[in-house]
Symmetry: C2
Subunit: 367 residues, 2 copies
């Protein structure tokens, strides 16, 4: 049990009171903000997420707003994904790379209008990079962090709960699209998205003052649907192959190493800062890549540092996330493995804190 010392620097959110009302048991810190990690227990939260509906305080997915005539140009500077065909109302998962092709973040870009975007960020101060590029490139664009805090509704009953609060129109939102929906006279962006594979929505709550009213409305409306406060679930996200920036990849890694090559159109993404660096890796492929890996034996402890992945005693990779999966009846893990050992079915060993364990490369998520 590790204690966290609270301070202003670890920002509370517009929903913190709601989260505490549900007896949040543990937090992490993400974008200088509190992110709940456990309510009842990771396993109970996991089961409930797969069977009911949860409301998640994911305010830590801070937004970067780009506004002005060069907003689209700046957005394309940031990513090797070709954004030319993207329309207002769409969300794109976009790897963000620096001039060496190293990943700085893996956010969701929200195109509000041709000259207005939000970037819903993972855990790094991407704002600083975007501001630096805008300033250095003398672009006509305003870049800042608006008062927008996402609230996610995830789980199989998410449509019913959202419809109860926002009306049946939300049912028609397609995956990674968004619409505007009213709450207490305020028009909010509601997208079908979220950091789970159970389906659901993210509400971009603009204005901290309506945070708790919206939280309470969702909890109240969800009473007959077994709603509970929840949060991104370690087990479920590893099972689903959802990567975590800072855990599974850092600025050491290219998108291709992370299995995100399908989100890169390096040839046509003209203007992308990392384009030159990525052209070669896009053509030839990476020499190491992220893979799902199963680890045998009892439940492993939390993975708080890289665990070496070995083959015949030689290091061929590392595990960055791991958890016991009740549904898969094994430890599920995410690791980076060298090309020589990344084929499905390859038998490896993992040096966990409790000793060596047998492990097997599983089918890549994206195939």
């Amino acid at each position: 049990m590790t204690q966290l010392s609270l301070s202003r620097r670890l920002r509370r959110t517009p929903f913190s009171q709601g989260v505490e009302n549900f007896g949040v048991k543990s937090y992490t810190v993400y974008n200088h903000m509190l992110l709940p990690t456990v309510f009842r227990s990771i396993r109970e939260d996991y089961r409930h997420l797969k069977e009911a509906v949860q409301v998640w305080d994911v305010s830590c997915e801070r937004q970067i707003e780009l506004r002005g005539p060069d907003a689209g140009r700046l957005m394309q500077h940031l990513t090797p994904r070709d954004l030319r065909s993207m329309l207002p109302g769409q969300c794109y998962y976009v790897p963000i790379v620096d001039e060496t092709g190293g990943m700085l973040n893996d956010p969701v870009a929200v195109k509000l209008a041709d000259d207005r975007w939000w970037i819903s960020i993972a855990d790094s101060d991407l704002l600083y990079w975007v501001k630096g590029l805008a300033y250095g490139g003398r672009l006509d664009v305003l870049v800042d962090e608006p008062d927008v805090s996402p609230l996610a509704v995830q789980g199989p009953r998410a449509d019913d709960l959202m419809a109860a609060v926002f009306g049946d129109g939300v049912r028609n939102i397609r995956f990674f699209r968004f619409g505007y929906f009213e709450f207490q006279g305020r028009s909010l962006v509601v997208a079908r998205s979220g950091y789970s594979k159970q389906g659901g929505f993210e509400i971009y709550v603009e204005g901290s003052d309506i945070g708790m009213p919206l939280w309470n409305a969702l909890i109240e409306a969800g009473k007959r649907m077994d709603v509970h406060a929840g949060c991104p679930n370690l087990i479920e996200r590893i099972e689903g192959g959802l990567l975590s920036y800072g855990n599974d990849m850092t600025d050491d890694n290219t998108p291709h190493e992370c299995g995100l090559g399908r989100f890169c159109n390096t040839k046509t993404a003209i203007g992308c800062v990392g384009r030159d660096a990525l052209l070669r890796v896009a053509k030839e492929g990476p020499v190491q890549q992220i893979r799902p890996i199963s680890i045998e034996g009892d439940a492993v402890p939390p993975c708080d540092s890289f665990w070496p992945v070995l083959s015949k005693g030689k290091k061929v990779g590392r595990i960055s996330s791991a958890a016991w999966s009740p549904d898969f009846d094994t430890n599920v893990a995410i690791g980076m493995v060298r090309m020589t050992h990344w084929d499905e079915g390859t038998e490896l060993q993992v040096a966990t804190p409790g000793g060596l364990r047998d492990a097997t490369v599983q089918p890549a998520f994206w195939i």
Copy 2:
């Protein structure tokens, strides 16, 4: 008691094992890294820091290395402090501002050579801003985070402990100067600096592999000096007026609002990105400014969100850090107060979570 969930994303340090050997009780997260906050108790740690000597794992003060012919030019882009007279071997506390004059970080710059600098950062990914400016400005400079983890030795017996490990030469290091000292055949930067007012050093440990050997050598040599693992102490740093980026100021604030005008030479800092924006505030002064504030009554709880500062019921500021000080026999606090109410001796009220308390503006630290 708030729990922290560990993961790879919250990086361990080269000294984590040493910190755990001493039974660290609580952490915070700082630059995506674990920073200890409590060993025995905040009050015991405070007393011991003022009377003996502590070894602090401040690896979270990550370094940004600037290397190349434009390193000095880039460094001056970052800050309104005039760096022309700075010599290799010196450390400067430098406010870092964006193009609007808002503070992005308040690091210590370490000038290793004319074409090589380290920036020892506070809690924000300043690397992204520096890389963005270097890229946008097409500067000939390499910018990255080297494998350097500072270890601080703080307290009245710091000179004796350091001399026992590095030799008597360390006693001659002047304040905010550094020299190179040998440890196990490695030459390390050792500066007289640190985040306390008790005196001491920061060792820039280059190479994670010598982290624990150095930790152990300091602990062993310090046995007869009552050495203990320690960490930046909430009470002592507020008493001493040491600001904390993210707590006491953010990118909303100018250096002048933070009482850091003495580190700004806005007129002569040619090249500083925020120079235009700061010229006016440098001349006219800010309309709100950081002040030490005493809060009456029993010990206040940790300040994990801004507490409004009131005068006759009207909001005139906010508290951002607070703690009970045994030596001052009152609650010491740091707050931002409007010009109309910032004079020494002004009587105010603070809306703490436990109710309104009387409070008084204390003399500014920097006068």
